[in-house]
């Protein structure tokens, strides 16, 4: 009835709001690119762009998973250590497999399979402890963060686990090769992003995540299996970590306790820069992708110039993140705020 009657006037308002919110991170990214180009034209060279995109794939893929966890009101601090752990186990398994069955593509496939299983399993543990154990996600994943990292250190005897070079030669192309001039990791990233976007915006699962994150009671009263959906978000996160690991391992062929340090912070930052709310209830996979690109671009730009003291890299990074988010939220949203609240 009255809804349809007013549809016409309503639409522009809504689209405007949505545009600003999605456009915010994009604008920040474009500004960064212009800045990068003006500091050093090499920034926009094909080689550098390929590097940048490939690099952002790790954090990006993990952050897509984190978008679901955070949307459903959770948090996962363990992703960095989980990546190190999965990478380490993958290497051990592949090295072991070589001894048993020699080197072939199957060794790598076996390794990737195990990585997926491990990632899903690790995610499931996080989810299980949070939902069934009723322990805060922050504590659970802080705990597993320590556990996974310790395990890598332990298995690596404090050092580095390195993939046998025979297997590496087979596996290397997964990171270094391109398809249609776009590096394989970027393809994987694109795939994960698209699937993630569809999952979030076009399936019941995404709706459920948002519902749970915005009000768990309502979700429960609406016949949503809250614990199950929440567990799934962690499993999904684990899956994303293992995908990121699968394209990470062929890069350097090694894993150590230094692998993936602080990735959790980067992933969460990418998610939030992208416009998802830390309190849950609202997720933007597209924004997350851009958030990951922004973070990677900042590091890249800092490496392309020497006008700033190296010691201040962190400060510049911090300032850019804050300013980027300010420009997209504080300023642009301010006029609408009153009406919204």
């Amino acid at each position: 009835m009255s809804v349809s009657a007013r549809e016409e006037t309503a639409k522009p308002v809504r689209n405007f709001g949505i545009d600003l919110k999605t456009a915010g991170p994009l604008v920040a990214l474009i500004v960064l690119c212009v800045l990068g180009y003006s500091l050093n034209p090499a920034f926009l060279s094909e080689g550098n762009l390929a590097n940048l995109l490939t690099r952002s794939a790790f954090i990006g893929i993990i952050a897509v998973g984190a978008t679901f966890v955070i949307t459903a009101g959770g948090i996962d601090l363990s992703v960095g250590s989980m990546a190190a752990f999965v990478a380490g186990m993958m290497i051990i398994i592949m090295n072991g497999a070589i001894d048993v069955m020699g080197v072939s593509v199957w060794t790598v496939i076996l390794g990737c399979g195990c990585s997926l299983i491990l990632g899903i399993g690790a995610g499931f543990i996080n989810g299980f402890l949070t939902t069934k154990g009723k322990i805060e996600a922050f504590i659970v994943t802080l705990g597993t963060m320590g556990i996974y990292r310790s395990l890598v250190t332990y298995f690596a005897d404090g050092g580095t686990l390195s993939l046998a070079s025979a297997a590496r030669d087979i596996y290397r192309p997964v990171y270094y090769d391109s398809f249609l001039r776009i590096p394989i990791p970027v393809w994987v990233f694109i795939g994960v992003a698209i699937i993630g976007w569809i999952l979030m915006n076009r399936t019941a699962f995404g709706r459920y995540c948002m519902a749970i994150g915005s009000n768990e009671h309502v979700a429960r009263y609406s016949a949503i299996k809250v614990d199950r959906v929440k567990t799934w978000t962690y499993v999904l996160q684990g899956l994303c970590v293992s995908l990121a690991t699968i394209i990470y391992v062929p890069r350097l062929g090694s894993a150590s306790s230094a692998t993936g340090v602080l990735w959790e912070l980067e992933a969460i930052a990418a998610v939030i820069i992208g416009g998802t709310m830390l309190k849950g209830g609202f997720g933007r996979v597209g924004g997350t992708v851009i958030g990951a690109l922004i973070l990677t671009a900042i590091g890249n730009i800092l490496n392309l110039t020497d006008i700033i003291s190296n010691y201040l890299n962190g400060a510049v990074q911090g300032v850019i993140i804050v300013v980027a988010v300010y420009l997209q939220r504080g300023n642009l949203r301010a006029p609408k705020r009153k009406a919204q609240e």
Binding site: M1, S2, V3, S4, R6, E7, T9, A10, K11, P12, V13, R14, I198, R202, T203, A204, R207, Y208, M210, A211, S214, N215, H217, V218, A219, R220, Y221, S222, A223, I224, K225, G281, F282, K338, A339
Partner: protein, 513 residues
């Protein structure tokens, strides 16, 4: 419109030619309104007429697009951060406005704590809170946390909070919507007392008898327009209703179709016990409407929630179409055609930060999915259907549910439940906050559903609703079934006798029949 100058002293608070738009959407059109000292002025109107918006402007929570607010004849700017309260304008909002983690005493004194040397006078505040709650005749522990209270208790805390402030103007937006009769009575006592003290009261309610009982003057709004301001003595409930809806309202309650005596029993509950209920037994036949009456906290909600699997069942049996069932999740009961609509629409029913469509289909997303994907076209259809069927009025399709008027939220929630196409429906407070016109619609919908062969349980604190709709009434008291009343015996007096514990049902045969 006729001026009713008979009551009260000078005008204290007035709105002059107030208009309000949200974005492009106008909600109020040049409204004039005033309240005098010691008077009770009721605002009535259909859902979405703009009542809540008007009082939000009067209390500074929203700024008018044009026009202004005058206090004691002076134009005032009321900033949105609760400053109106310092000027003596106190509001009980339609949306419960309590912080869930605070205790009752903390909530009552939030923002104006009693202090000495910077330290809170905890004991005094607790005592004072207890005292205020006592005057309202409610037994709520001042140390209880808000989230552990029932909706009605929360509302009483709101009332306590409001009357404890030094109000010159007390504005109340549907304060009685979640209260039972007894509580409403206690509440009215306090309102009378305040009026006697010279406090001016603005009162919004869809319960016309309450309006008649309390108000000195009545202002009617329709679609954001001022229709009339009239002295109450010149009115009858019927004439008010007519002014509100703009048409004659006859037969609020549809005629009862007596269900087939041989109709099969579709739901049989035996000796159900659990959190706050004990040995509850009753049956529901096909095509029957069973009312659940009782005082607040008598366990009606608990029975419903235990049946559908929202609460833990300690013992007892539930049979659905002759088959024993034990639901532990709502999805299971939905799958078997048993739907439950909660009474707590803000906390349990709707996602306030989300739009209409996702809320409507949240319970039935599977139905609107093609394979993995949500079919938005089918969702849109569902929304259009629900909007038509339940007359949901949103000024703008993109509004968040939290921005809908209270009554329209309620209708949306009804729509959400009906989306599941249930055979058995348990509705907890079906018309909470709904205007008379729509109430009538909803009653007819319920009756029509029963006539179609669906079975319905109506849990309600509104006695007329129970009496007007039910074929049979189960009266609960302190977690037990106090009695079951049928046919001609369904009268207010009889129900109250059971509910208050004056009468106890001896013959349990009838309950489990």
């Amino acid at each position: 419109m006729q001026p009713a100058d008979t009551i009260g002293g000078p005008v204290i608070l007035s709105a002059e030619r107030i208009s309000k738009s949200f974005g492009e959407v106008p909600v109020l059109f040049s409204i004039d309104f005033d309240i005098r000292q010691g008077e009770c002025h009721a605002i009535i109107g259909e859902n979405g007429a703009g009542k809540s918006t008007l009082i939000k402007i009067l209390s500074g929570l929203e700024q008018p697009t044009s026009g202004h607010v005058c206090l004691d004849g002076q134009r005032v700017e009321l900033p949105p951060h609760g400053e109106a309260e310092k000027l003596g304008i106190v509001v009980i909002h339609q949306e419960l406005n309590l912080a869930e983690h605070l205790t009752v005493a903390d909530s009552i004194f939030l923002g104006r704590e009693l202090k000495s040397h910077g330290f809170l006078k905890l004991k005094e505040m607790r005592e004072a809170a207890r005292h205020i709650l006592d005057t309202l005749h409610v037994d709520i522990d001042p140390d209880a946390r808000i989230h552990s209270l029932s909706v009605a208790d929360k509302q009483m805390v709101e009332v306590a909070k409001a009357i404890s402030r030094d109000a010159r103007v007390l504005i109340m937006d549907e304060p009685t919507a979640v209260l039972s009769q007894a509580e409403t009575e206690n509440f009215f006592e306090q309102v009378d007392r305040l009026k006697a003290k010279g406090v001016s009261i603005i009162f919004i309610s869809h319960k016309l008898d309450e309006v008649m009982r309390l108000a000195d003057r009545v202002t009617v709004l329709r679609d954001g327009q001022h229709i009339a301001t009239v002295g109450t003595e010149a009115l009858t409930p019927d004439s008010i209703a007519q002014m509100m809806v703009g048409r004659e309202l006859s037969n609020l309650y549809p005629p009862k179709h007596e269900p087939d005596v041989d109709a099969p029993v579709v739901l049989k509950v035996e000796n159900l016990s659990g959190e706050s209920i004990e040995n509850v037994s009753f049956t529901l036949k096909r095509g029957e409407i069973v009312g659940f009456a009782g005082l607040i906290g008598s366990g009606r909600t608990a029975v419903a929630e235990t049946i559908v699997g929202l609460q833990h069942r300690d013992s007892g049996k539930v049979e659905l179409n002759g088959e024993p069932v034990h639901f532990t999740e709502v999805s299971q009961s939905i799958a078997r055609g048993l739907a439950y609509m909660t009474k707590d629409r803000k906390g349990r029913g709707l996602l306030l930060n989300t739009g209409l469509r996702p809320n409507l289909t949240l319970l039935t997303l599977k139905k609107h999915s093609r394979g993995l994907f949500i079919n938005e076209a089918s969702e849109d259809e569902a929304l259009a259907r629900a909007v038509r069927r339940f007359d949901i009025r949103a000024r703008d399709a993109s509004v968040k549910v939290g921005q809908l008027s209270g009554g329209n939220q309620q209708k949306l929630m009804l729509g959400k439940m009906m989306e599941t196409e249930p055979d058995i429906i348990i509705i907890d407070e079906p018309t909470r906050g709904i205007d008379v016109g729509t109430k009538q619609q909803i009653y007819h919908i319920i009756a029509a559903l029963a006539a179609e062969g669906k079975s319905i349980i109506v849990i309600s604190s509104e006695m007329p609703e129970i009496i007007g709709l039910s074929h049979r009434v189960v009266v609960m008291r302190e977690g037990r079934v106090a009695g079951v009343i049928e046919g001609q015996e369904i009268t207010e007096a009889e129900i109250m006798r059971y509910a208050a514990g004056l009468k106890q049902d001896g013959d349990h045969e009838r309950i489990s029949a």
